[in-house]
Symmetry: C2
Subunit: 347 residues, 2 copies
């Protein structure tokens, strides 16, 4: 059963009002604040109907209505008016992102910070997903005998490094030769295809110095793990503490549940990944309330989108806020930040 026009308007008005006030909306308040050309009694009938259909909920008999998850979903899918970002706001974001960045991590931190400041909610920025990227450089730098810094550079502009231990007596020259060999053999190869075996064959095919097999393998193993750990996503999250100011989290129990989950970066990153796959074709992904399968986020909504590096889908940015969120505003903000990132990462 579809919603007739007035019911749509009613639902829309209720969501708008509830977002603004965080108070259940009654038929009278609705009449007062909007130009419905009908009486409150008519709205009451509509509201009762909307409740029967699952779009609205009533905290108690004598309170007004609040949108259900389904109500928000309908709102987001077809009712809300998409905001244009004000010029002032666009300029502000632009300024915050006009950092000179030499590593993508810095830009993402700035993006996350801008998003948190601008929305007033929790922001999220994740380094590019590396499955789609490939190795461009591998350097091993002797820091002191037995200690080597492995620097891994990936096509998406990500640079990671990691300190590893190797036998004391190896020289910088030997190490450099090994890393050069591996780099030659592997550069251009997608990360997903790099395994201990491909590393080993790369080294053996391209290597000039002779080293005992066992020794070589030890170094290669360290190189391999360094490459593999470069695969880890970094998650930048900001603005958590702002949630405490919202009435929905005035109960510390809820806030605790939320923070508990959010303190596990991996969980969040995994969920974003899952959502991104589900809504592959969409410009942005929205999950509302119970739709979110992470514990403690039932009162939240989660909006994410993907940014591109060199024109290819790379990583995610997103916002976590209360269900009672200014969806259209947040969407336009997140979109703007995404566009800025895309542009800066076009190179």
């Amino acid at each position: 059963m579809a919603l007739d026009n007035r019911k749509k308007e009613v639902l829309q008005a209720i969501v708008d009002d509830y977002v603004a006030t965080c108070e259940p909306v009654g038929s009278k308040a609705l009449i007062d604040r909007h130009d419905f050309m009908v009486s409150s009694a008519t709205l009451r009938n509509d509201m009762a109907e909307l409740e029967r259909m699952g779009y609205l909920e009533q905290p108690h008999t004598s309170a007004g209505r609040i949108p259900s998850d389904k109500g928000y979903r309908e709102y987001v899918n077809s009712l809300m008016k998409v905001d244009r970002l004000s010029d002032a706001e666009g300029k502000e974001i632009k300024e915050k992102l006009s950092v000179s960045f030499d590593e993508i991590a810095e830009l993402l931190k700035a993006a996350s910070s801008a998003l948190a400041d601008q929305t007033g909610y929790i922001s999220l920025a994740m380094t590019p997903k590396l499955t789609s990227s490939y190795l461009t450089q591998l350097k091993m730098l002797m820091i002191e005998p037995g200690k080597v810094l492995v620097v891994v550079v990936l096509s998406a502009g990500v640079v990671k490094n990691r300190m590893v231990r190797i036998p004391d007596f190896l020289t910088q020259e030997q190490i450099a030769q090994i890393s050069n060999a591996v780099e030659q053999g592997l550069s251009g190869l997608p990360l997903s295809e790099i395994s201990l075996i491909t590393v080993a064959t790369a080294a053996k095919d391209n290597q000039k110095v002779e080293l005992p097999e066992a020794l070589l393998n030890q170094v290669l193993y360290e190189a391999y793990t360094a490459i593999k750990q470069a695969d880890n996503l970094d998650v930048y999250m900001q603005g958590k503490h702002r949630m405490l100011a919202l009435p929905e989290f005035s109960d510390t129990k809820r806030a605790q549940g939320l923070f508990d989950t959010l303190s596990h970066d991996g969980l969040v990153a995994g969920y974003v990944d899952e959502v991104t796959k589900q809504d592959e074709k969409k410009e942005y992904m929205i999950r509302i309330g119970q739709e979110i399968t992470l514990e403690g986020l039932d009162d939240c909504s989660f909006i994410t989108t993907t940014y591109n590096v060199g024109g290819k889908v790379a990583g995610n940015i997103g916002v976590i806020g209360p269900k009672r969120m200014e969806y259209s505003k947040v969407i336009s903000q997140i979109n703007f930040v995404r566009m800025m990132l895309d542009e800066k990462l076009k190179q």
Copy 2:
């Protein structure tokens, strides 16, 4: 006016009880739970006296007493019994810290995590203060034309790196020569003595290739800023969300104030530094309630200590918890972690 023995016992008992229950302690409850050989009336007199002297406070006339900041201070300074860590707990911490670490940062993260888990409060671990350390290595690694990774290695075992931009046409060889020259000229020099000028003279004294002055200066400037930013402390903080479970933070306003401040790493690091200087000679530094000059931490206590690298005072670890904290337990935990760090960083 000094406290007589019984008053000391009374204060100690009140702190112990209040820490355990978070409820104001009355004279009767005190008699019930402890073996005072006097009547409740006597204790009442003592408590009134202790209040007059500023060690206790009364939330309202008809409630029991709670310790004031001064009361906690007295408790910490001379009343509390120092706990020995249980073997089980020691073992647990040991296990958590038995990560194989190649960078000091990893060890500190583990230490912070162990401390948070063990105390149930907020833990803190800071990378070594670098004013006392000196440069041991400086490497510049060309990632792509115009982009160079500067790796700075410091005596305290800290490795930092930073991507910088340089003119496109410089070659890896030129860059390497410059960085070698700078490294030769500066290695062994305390960070505090490194300035743009010392960097420049180091380069010019040791350099073999000739580059136009302006070009060279540009590269040196980038090297210099990379060295300088290696000076930034990293702060690892964990367990914030646990504070929400405490009754003193059931009011979200307070929690918000706390989290607001804690989200500024720099503030916290600066404060730790200040406290460390004030209590230079002490084994650990304690700040209670209003003694803490950070906003929003009036209901907290802050315990920090220093760990050593190679036998020299290096960085700080610490715990932030409610004033109503199990001081002796936390102190022994923090001490244990400190000892473990010292040992691991003896090298």
